[in-house]
Each structure stands twice: as structure tokens, then as C-alpha cells.
Symmetry: C2
Subunit: 333 residues, 2 copies
């Protein structure tokens, strides 16, 4: 392939996280040609932007491509952004407030940049390259992406476009109160879905139960580093406490899936995030909970179909591919 | 105004109900030039279509306009429709299944027709002509319409367009279960919002309480014709039972408003339908319930603003104006 053939056909996708930055070169067919991961320097916005720029330059070098071949750079930011101005408005993990990401990177690198919220980016990535495909292998007109990981958040693609809402907060099911007076959430409310069913919530519930004297295989684990994945492993070994905690969270998440289906009437709901990379007891519990809603609600039965709920197809590449999707043809948002 | 100036600048909007058909001529500025109301003949689809055609012809005569001045006819149907084919798929009150509304009326009247579900039509009407306006007097990019009457249903306008979803069922909050094992809903599920908070549900709850021996001013009313409006009047006279029933329904509706706001992040939420034509104890209860969610949820506080929740501006004309909006410039859906 000559440089000429390749001119401006490639994209760089950057997944900016609180601890690490993953950057990749993506071709027109959605293939990731290089993956580079570097630590996020959070010692001030300037340093963070410099580490992002370093990741971009390194992944281009790893893919063996020149600046002239790159059409643009897309970035997924863990927080609130203004996609028009390209300003990172607020990102707790990056300690960002009103950081002019787009301007800084375009000045530094001389390539067009686009930024979006990381969950939105993941939704766009699954829609364009991943699980958001209908039976006839076309992109779903209406798709809901539900991220299950250290947080819980949803984003909808409607009419093929990301639905942001007035403040970019559309799909904030994670901070919707499901249990008034439930456990305190990081957002300040009580009983949000995220406080009931995100990974850290499961681990916290297990730690508290063990401290309260419940017997569990999880007692053998270091309590400080307990994760939802430890609960999944314990369930495989017959641990009752883990089973109960995961089942409780799955019930809430199944209600969220039901609500999102009733609200958006989508073709596809994609479960993404670290807790949905493969089938596990949480996913099984969600499927079981959804089956109960199918049983109960005739309207839901019309909306639902056997292939509606899917796990992420892009898994760990969703951040890179989704960020690239910000600049892909027909996916400008 | 000469006929020439007026050529094809007018629309006919038809609100097809189970008991009556309202038809009106609407001008380019959204003024209703004539209103005709006739009974719906539900003795077979052919008869119903004939009564619709009669209503259209009569309202044109009432407005003094000729066929040549009419650009098209929009119809709101109380049920499921296919807007592309113009087929009324299912309408319980009309006893319709797969009725070729568009083809029949276009053949009979020689004017282009468009059909949509009646709640969708109301949402489009409020968006184009009514309460769906932002502060700067432009149309809301994202607007949610929540209909409160004999049924409860929501429809969202996203990016200025009606969001239908895969089956035209997007926004089915009315048939979303809020109270598992709650009262039986007409849809077959238990504890749907509609079974908890629609007009007939309020009247039913009052009747049941009175039969069970509760004391209420409503005992003076004919129990068979009791409506939510009787409960509102009784509350004004200090009736405790009515107050409790309406407050309970308002709590569920406030949660629905909260859910819709968190899901769509809209600029505007319009309450329409017969229970939202003016301030009343149900609306007051919804506002009070929303105030509690504002108190509880920091994310909701970002999404919410003082002028978010509005009552219908079009009231009884919403069906005519909304149906006309199906064919208005820039509002094709």
C-alpha cells in the first residue's frame, strides 16, 4: 500500500482513562492497526494533554504511519465534554475543569480532533463497528448501550446518531434512584442504580456482609482489593453470599434494561464495560430478570426479541474504536 | 386573500377518537380556521373511514376553502400505525386491524394523507405550535410529551424529530410496571403506571375505597360516572380520601417525569391530555414530587430547570394541530 492510496484514510482513537491512556490507529474498515498504552499523567491538565499527545505519536509510530495518512483524532473522555468547542468541562478522575482539549491537541499535533464522553464513545463504537448490528447486518437505527463497570451509564443511538440531550446527560440511568434511601452513591444521591449494581458496589456489599459476620469464601481474599470478578469466581465455587449479592444487583439491572427497552423501543441493547466482556453470573442474572419482565408485560413482549440483549463485541478495543468512530464517515455527531 | 396566494398553504388535521372525530383546517402559522366534530361510526372500518372523510369535507366547507388550497391531510389514530404505508395496524377503540387508512382516504379525497399514533401527533403538535418552545422561542431539540388522561403515554422528540423506535412503541412509560403485583392494567400486566395513575384508575380507586366503607364526599356522586375531575373538586372541598388517592398517583407520575428527564435530558417536558389542561391537585402533586427528586438527586438538579415542566398549550386543539404538523414544513417524520 503506498502512502498515496492511504492518504487520510486512517483515524486515531484515544481512550483517556484516569490511570491509563490507550491509543490506536484504526483503518476504514474498523481494524485496529496498533495499540499503545501509557500511564495518564494527572499532575495538571497540561501534563495530561502531553501524555495524550505522547500516546498518539507512539501509536502512529507503532503502526508505521505518517501524519499525512491520518484524517483525525478522536478522544473519549471520562467526564462531561462540550463536543462543539472540544472543551473537557469536568472529569473527576483527571481533575479537569474546562480544559481546551481539542484546541491544545490540534495546535500541538496539527491534526483535527474530536472529543466525546467515554460512554458515548463506546456506544458509537459498538454501533458502527460492534454489537449494534441488526439481523440484516445493517446498523441499528435505535440502539441502547448500557455500560456496567466501575460505573453504570447508558447512551442511546437514535436515528443512527448519538442522543446527547441538553447537557450531554441523556441516559443517566446509573444516577437514577431505584431504591429511595438505598446506599449512598458517589453522586450524592441515595439508592442510584450505580450504588446498587456497579462493580465497586458489589465488592462493598460483600465486604460489609463479611464484616457483619456472614460466612463466605470471599473471606480468603484481601478485602481491600475485592472486585465483582472475585464474587463471580466464588459463585462458581458455590458461595451463597456472593450469589445473593450478585442476584440482587442483577434484579436492578434487569429493571434498567426493561426501562430502557420500554423507553427507547430499540433494535439492540448492548451491555458493555468490564462486567460484560463475557457471560458471568451478573449477566445470567440480568437475562433471568428480563425473562421475568417478558413474562409479566405484554407490551414488553412486543418490543423484545431473542437477539435484543448482546454483550460488547469490541471489549477492550471499544474505547479506541469508539473514539475513532467520532470521525468516521457518516458518524459525525 | 385570493385562491392563488393560498394555493396549497393549508392543512387539514384530524383527531380520530373512539367516540368522536374532530377535524380542522390549519394555516401555515398554526391557526385553526375551522373545527368540526362528528361522531365516530365504528360499525366496521369502511364506515369509520367514511365518517373521517365526512369530517374532512365538512371542516373544509366550514373554513370556506377548496381542495386546491389543501396541501394534505394529517390524522392522529388512537393505536398502532405504520406511518410509511399509512396502515392503521391496531386500534382497540376503533376495532381496527390493518386498515389501509392512507390509501382509502387518498383514493376517496384525492389529497395526500399521513397518519400517526395520537400521542405522537400530540407531541409533534406541542413541539411545533405549542408548549415545546425553549426560552429563545425556538423549538426544543429534545422534548418529552407525557399524556395524562384515560391513558398514560409518553413520546419524545429528539433532534427535532419524533422518536418512534422499532415498533412505534418508544415512550411506553404508561405500560411500564412501577409496582410489581399492583392493580391489573388493560394491557394485561400488573402495576403499570397507567393502572396506577390514569384518570380511570383514580376513579376506580375511589369507588373501591367507598365500597370498602371509606367516608368521602364522593359518595354523593353517581359512582358509575365518577372521574378524576370529581376527585379534584372533592379535594377543593377538603375530601381526605380524594386527596390521598390523587397524592398516590402524583407520586408515581413524578417518578415518571424524573425517569424521563434522566433518560432524555430534554429541554422541555410537556404534560398533556385531559388531566393536564389546567393546574389541579394531580399537577400540583407531580410538581411537589419532582421537587423531592430535585432535593435528592444532584444529577437531576443539573438536568432540571425552573421552566422544564409545562402544561399543554394547545389543549383541545392538540389533536387537530398535531395531525396537521405531520405535513407541516420541516416536520416530516
Amino acid at each position: 500500500m503506498t502512502m498515496q492510496e492511504n492518504a487520510e484514510s486512517l483515524l486515531v482513537g484515544v481512550d483517556v482513562g484516569g490511570t491509563k491512556i490507550a491509543a490506536g490507529v484504526v483503518d476504514a474498515r474498523g481494524q485496529v492497526l496498533s495499540r499503545v498504552q501509557i500511564p495518564t499523567d494527572t499532575d495538571g491538565a497540561e501534563k495530561t494533554l502531553q501524555s495524550i499527545a505522547t500516546g498518539i505519536v507512539e501509536t502512529m509510530r507503532a503502526a508505521g504511519v505518517e501524519r499525512e495518512q491520518i484524517r483525525g483524532i478522536g478522544l473519549g473522555i471520562p467526564g462531561e465534554v462540550n463536543p462543539e468547542s472540544g472543551v473537557g468541562l469536568f472529569a473527576a478522575n483527571l481533575h479537569w475543569r474546562n480544559v481546551p482539549v481539542k484546541r491544545w491537541l490540534e495546535d500541538a499535533l496539527g491534526m483535527p480532533c474530536a472529543i466525546e464522553n467515554d460512554v458515548s464513545v463506546a456506544a458509537l463504537g459498538e454501533h458502527l463497528y460492534g454489537a449494534g448490528r441488526t439481523e440484516r447486518d445493517s446498523k441499528a437505527d435505535t440502539m441502547v448501550y448500557l455500560s456496567l463497570g466501575t460505573g453504570v451509564a447508558a447512551k442511546a443511538i437514535i436515528g443512527g446518531k448519538l442522543h446527547r440531550g441538553s447537557h450531554g446527560l441523556a441516559g443517566e440511568i446509573g444516577h437514577t434512584v431505584f431504591v429511595p434511601d438505598g446506599p449512598l452513591c458517589a453522586c450524592g444521591a441515595r439508592g442510584c442504580l450505580e450504588a446498587l449494581a456497579a462493580g465497586p458496589a458489589l465488592a462493598k456489599r460483600a465486604r460489609e456482609a463479611i464484616q457483619a459476620g456472614h460466612v463466605s469464601l470471599l473471606q480468603e481474599q484481601d478485602q481491600a482489593t475485592l472486585t465483582a470478578h472475585h464474587l463471580f469466581s466464588a459463585i462458581a465455587q458455590g458461595d451463597n453470599l456472593s450469589r445473593q449479592i450478585v442476584a440482587g444487583a442483577a434484579t436492578h439491572l434487569a429493571y434498567a434494561v426493561y426501562l430502557l427497552a420500554m423507553t427507547f423501543d430499540p433494535q439492540v441493547i448492548v451491555l458493555g464495560g468490564g462486567l460484560a466482556h463475557e457471560e458471568n453470573p451478573l449477566i445470567e442474572g440480568i437475562r433471568a430478570g428480563v425473562a421475568q419482565w417478558i413474562e409479566r408485560s405484554p407490551v414488553f413482549r412486543v418490543i423484545w426479541h431473542a437477539n435484543m440483549l448482546r454483550l460488547t463485541a469490541l471489549k477492550r478495543d471499544v474505547g479506541i474504536l469508539g473514539a475513532a468512530a467520532l470521525l468516521a464517515d457518516g458518524e459525525t455527531v
